[in-house]
């Protein structure tokens, strides 16, 4: 569909109506979840095979790529829409399933082997409507597939930021428009005054989703009032927390939502130039964003006279080269300017003097993405979701030792327990919950006593952790908390830019102490020294990376001090993780002498007569644990203490 540029809201409305008609056309459609998470599990092969096999099979069939709907544990995901029927989601699809799916479609049936859920209506969040897919009664096989409202992973979720992820083809601007896209920008630019928009954002209670939680409306207001003619709008897409990929999913699945948010923001603060700082390690996100920007320019949503309002705005992409610290606003701006990505003190805020010393309004991907919803649905509606201090929804990347791994978007105020147990399905392999790390590497580990705490900016901060950008790493009872603290600190030490002394030297020394504790060289004064170092690093560091770097150590010291003491005083790792403090032994009663472990052992540390119990040579064993996985009889035990009995 080739469309001509849009210069009025009326033209957009007309296009939206025809795009929606095409979007909901009663023709068969297959959507393959082809975000990075899907592609990593083989969605590309599924897609290729489907495209090869569809030739002429079904009249008018379209096979489309879509973004991540969040259920990463079910990838590759394929959704099928047949005229007049509910949309069916198939999980763990391989290319071998493709003929079966196509045959089932041709027969008007459900491919039961892989069906995991059904969507009865296509949601149009911005217009507050749902369009039913089905007409009349369900067929027997469709009824057997549970609706999303009954699928535990989706039941408690509310997709606002992820409204289009998994529903639209991210490479189609028409799809985005069909879902109500760009109508909020049209409304803002033609019906609202900039001050009114800022007021609306303030009333909505939206707070920065990148981690700081600063009220977005207030930030915009300061940027608008800052003196000078030139102002910049920046989107921080330098998502770098280990295990967190909310922003990637939004850009890959719904790039226009970010662009639309930035257009509205640019008009509100009076900016004509925007930047998206996106990490180079997100090639698909960069590709989709680039395409989306070109489309938006062609349609006139970016340019010299947007919606005939006289507002001029353009966006450029800058790719980050892989430094975690460039997610910090001042370092990001330094990098944008072409300088070394190093933070500076923020005594003068970037909204007053940021990029090229001009007022610069930087918000995170998810923050920008929320803006069109607030404008379209109104601040009151948005503020009706969430808690007193934290409004709206938040996307979390729920990862770690949890049964259902993926992106979950929930209303603020939902408890950690609901997220982890109800949506995440609890701990994998029937294990015990031990802690959840929120807020990325510099967040904190929250123990089970606080599982009923709500996800809310202020509540998580009170627990010594933080909301951060939305990482949520679940740990089970087989996780050593000292080792976890060491892992995160090692990450932060590596990512410290090295400009200021406390962060550069302090994190390195803290890591040495933690290494010592994990390796059985802990000393009695170590815990006090860690506290002392932490205090100086928190107080003395130049930027938030250093200022929050000790958090994983401080929270584990606070909630799991007995584990530290066991390592230091008893030279014992209660979770049996720290290699220097454990040993592997073969239970002679269980060992059948099958020698599976012998061939698995990379160090040739296991020996024994055939069909007789084997033994591990402790002097050769490197404690890699490969033998445990190789043994089919559960005969290899992990024991406390490094010496032989």
């Amino acid at each position: 569909m080739k469309t001509s540029p849009i210069s009025t809201p009326a033209q957009l409305a007309k296009l939206a109506a025809s795009a929606r008609k095409a979007f909901l056309a009663p023709k068969p459609k297959i959507l393959v979840g082809a975000a990075t998470c899907g592609l990593a599990t083989g969605a590309g092969r599924v897609l290729d095979a489907l495209r090869e096999q569809t030739n002429g099979k079904l009249d008018g069939l379209r096979v489309l790529e879509t973004g991540c709907i969040g259920a990463c544990f079910l990838e590759p995901l394929v959704d099928v829409v047949m005229p007049g029927q509910a949309r069916i989601t198939y999980a763990h699809v391989t290319s071998e399933d493709d003929p079966g799916i196509l045959d089932a479609m041709a027969e008007g049936k459900v491919y039961e082997k892989r069906a995991v859920g059904r969507i009865d209506a296509e949601p149009f969040l911005l217009d507050d409507v749902k369009k039913n897919y089905r007409r009349g009664k369900f067929a027997e096989d469709v009824r057997k597939v549970p609706s999303y409202e009954k699928v535990p992973f989706f039941a408690g979720q509310l997709h606002v930021a992820m409204r289009n992820c998994g529903y639209i083809d991210p490479s189609s601007i028409e799809d985005y428009i069909a879902k109500g896209g760009y109508s909020a920008a049209a409304k803002a630019l033609t019906e609202m005054e900039p001050e009114q928009i800022i007021e609306e954002i303030k009333t909505s209670g939206l707070r920065g989703r990148g981690g700081g939680g600063f009220p977005t409306g207030r930030k915009w207001e300061t940027a608008r009032k800052a003196p000078g003619d030139v102002r910049y709008v920046i989107c921080n897409a330098d998502e770098g927390d280990p295990g967190a990929y909310m922003d990637r999913a939004i850009i890959e699945g719904d790039p226009h939502s970010v662009i639309e948010g930035m257009i509205i923001g640019s008009y509100a603060i009076g900016s004509h130039e925007g930047y998206v700082y996106v990490r180079e390690e997100y090639p698909l996100a960069v590709k989709r964003l680039r395409l989306a920007l070109r489309q938006a320019e062609e349609m006139g949503f970016l340019g010299d006279n947007i919606f005939g309002s006289g507002h001029r705005f353009r966006i450029r992409i800058n790719r980050g080269a892989g430094a975690f610290v460039c997610g910090e606003s001042t370092a990001l701006m330094a990098s944008l300017e072409g300088r070394v990505g190093e933070p500076r003190a923020k005594y003068i805020h970037t909204v007053e003097s940021g990029l090229w010393a001009k007022p610069s309004c930087l918000n995170n991907v998810e923050t920008w993405n929320n803006v069109p919803v607030i404008i379209a649905r109104g601040a009151e509606w948005y503020a009706s979701i969430g808690t007193e201090g934290s409004k709206g929804t938040k996307v979390f990347s729920l990862v770690g030792k949890v049964n259902r791994v993926g992106l979950v978007e929930v209303p603020m105020g939902m408890t950690l327990r609901q997220v982890i147990e109800d949506i995440g399905g609890g701990i994998e392999n029937g294990g015990q919950f031990k802690a959840v790390q929120t807020g990325g590497p510099s967040g904190g580990c929250i123990p089970s006593e606080y599982l009923d705490s709500p996800v809310d900016f202020d509540e998580l901060t009170k627990l010594g952790s933080m909301m951060g950008s939305g990482g949520m790493i679940v740990m089970d009872d087989r996780t050593c908390m000292v080792d976890v603290a060491r892992y995160f600190l090692a990450f932060l030490k590596d990512e410290s830019c090295g400009k200021c002394v406390p962060c550069r030297e302090g994190t390195a020394r803290m890591l040495e102490i933690l290494d010592g504790i994990c390796e059985g060289r802990g000393r009695p004064g170590d815990i006090d020294l860690l506290h002392e170092l932490s205090e100086a690093i928190v107080d003395g560091s130049l930027c938030a990376l250093g200022g929050s770097a000790p958090n994983p150590v401080l929270t584990t010291l606070k909630y799991f001090s007995e584990e530290y003491r066991a390592h230091i005083e008893d030279r014992r790792c209660p979770a049996k993780v720290c290699r220097a403090l454990i040993r592997f032994a073969i239970d002679p009663d269980k060992c059948t002498g099958c020698a599976a472990c012998v061939s698995a052992c990379p160090e040739k540390a296991i020996s024994g007569e055939k069909k007789e119990p084997h033994a591990i040579d402790q002097t050769k064993c490197v404690k890699c644990g490969v033998c445990v996985d190789a043994c089919r009889f559960d005969a290899i035990e992990v024991k406390q203490g490094s010496e032989t009995e």
């Binding site: 002394v501 994190t507 020294l529």
Partner: protein
Amino acid sequence: MTEGEDTPFTLNGKPAVAHPGETVLSVAKRHGIHIPTLCHHDAVAPYGACRLCVVEVSWGKRSKIVTSCIYMPYENDSVETDSARVRRVRAMVLELLWSRHPEVEALRDLAGEYGVEEPRFGADPSEAPNRCILCGMCVRVCAEVVGQHAIGYARRGSERRISTPYGDAAEECIGCAACVFICPTGALHYEDVGGLRLMKELQTEIPLASCRSCGEPFATEQQIARVQERLNLPKEVAETCPRCRGTQHRRAMEKVLVTKRS
């Protein structure tokens, strides 16, 4: 930032005033209050990296640590330059630096003033000992004063170090040795040998020019050209070494004086 009015605030319990754009460090200096620094130098822009100049700012019950070399006080700020919290940060900064650079005497002396008797951390054996505390004065003087940008930082975190581009001889370097002179710990050196200025830490060798009067090498060719250009000096003055210039100047003055008397 330099326009506007003075800002009244409290400094160590006494009323003080910051001029527009003035930092706490500067106000303290005017009041004779000593705040230790390692990365501050009046010749270059503040950097805020060493964190030794931290002070505590409070408003009522709330307080925070700020960097006095950058922080410009707000009205009603109450600034303490030597509170217990400030001393704790400084002591740890010094202890950390001492453990990494045990050969820098100035650090040990300063650390002693903050009650650090012996660093509790061993120096990382994998790191070669060096005197560079990464205060960045050399980088700033080269960029801001000399205007050459011949050196910068390489790598990050605890592997950060001062380097020429890609660790090769810096094409931009004019061999002025401003970096050597400003270095507070003696981490950078130069040596004039056989008509060359050698800057071994910067892998750079630059030919020296000889004085047109005495024939002794005294500065690098690029440096002379730069000074001549910037100060708009006659060529013969720029190409004469400071000692000969002094002699010539003295002789000229004597001539004038003799003429005047007679």
